[in-house]
Symmetry: C2
Subunit: 192 residues, 2 copies
């Protein structure tokens, strides 16, 4: 069994667009569905949607309440269960402070990106820490064309890009989250 | 480098619904996007959307042409690239015959499902075959509440469910495809 607490956050600001301007992206309905189902499967402690806008927080509440309290929850109880781990936050700073005060200890931030950074950590090394050390980790995922460089560089760890040696490397964030959770929190299928 | 040819197919009939009736599911726009991007990243040889209805084939052509020929292709050339590996087929039988006649050799079908079947193959064993044997494999993914039992049982191999020992196991098909491609075709990250 895993010893560490693991949280994930999907950031919507400050993101790059394709021209590398800093933008705020919108909440995407299917991110809530696919990522909460993956997070729930891999026993993530909570899935935070981080967005600065109150109206987008309202949209999140509307989607969640349909699947928690409305017809959706009755029709599909598994989705209700998955949605129970969704939380919201306004900024990454606010989220870190909240998690550290709740845990009474440092929360290590781990960034993920398709771009190469120096000082990256391997999946096996981080998996090892997650399974064997009583720490708390917050995995950050970006939207748009990726997380602002300054946020990346301020993280405690940067994970290696998935399949860095491929010619094409443009996974959706939903695919990237699924693969990274499987590598870090999943069963040791490669030993079976 | 991988020696085997690997194709994937997303089936829309015969699927189960939540009451275990046999149904035909609809084409989902985001399946095309997320699965083609994952398939392209992991160098899958082709991604087949299998659907019996001509009107759904027309819908697929409309979506693809927007991203190939329309504004989408200009705005996002990576998506154009991903969509270039999408193909369509009417039935699984038709697809198997087409692939076998094209390859001049048997195509091994591999089913994937969240349900447990006897006679499953492990990810490491299949990964080993895929990397070292000059065979052709067709991985089948289902929609709705899963692929009809008779289709599953007629396959050459059935992959173990992802994370079979978890209490909650309801990944989206987009997450399941991403994780399975990463396990079978991905880098040996666990040795790094």
């Amino acid at each position: 069994m895993r010893k560490a607490k693991v949280y994930i956050a999907l950031l919507h600001y400050p993101m790059y667009n394709k021209r590398m301007d800093i933008i705020t992206t919108s909440i995407t309905n299917l991110d809530l569905h696919d990522i909460s189902r993956a997070a729930r499967t891999y026993d993530v402690d909570a899935f935070f949607l981080v967005h600065p806008s109150p109206s987008q927080h309202e949209l999140i509440r509307d989607i969640i309440s349909y699947w928690q309290e409305g017809f959706g929850g009755e029709y599909n109880p598994d989705r209700k269960d998955a949605f129970s781990i969704i939380r919201t936050a306004t900024t990454l700073e606010e989220l870190r402070e909240y998690l550290e005060s709740m845990n009474g200890d440092k929360v290590f931030t781990v960034a993920t990106d398709a771009r190469l950074y120096s000082n990256t950590i391997s999946y096996s090394k981080l998996k090892n820490m997650v399974f064997n050390e009583e720490k708390s980790f917050l995995l950050l995922f970006g939207t748009g064309w990726g997380i602002q460089k300054e946020i990346m560089e301020a993280c405690d760890y940067i994970l290696q890009p998935i399949e860095a040696d491929r010619r094409y490397n443009h996974l959706s964030v939903r695919s990237a989250v699924s693969i990274i959770l499987d590598r870090l929190l999943g069963e040791y299928w490669f030993n079976l």
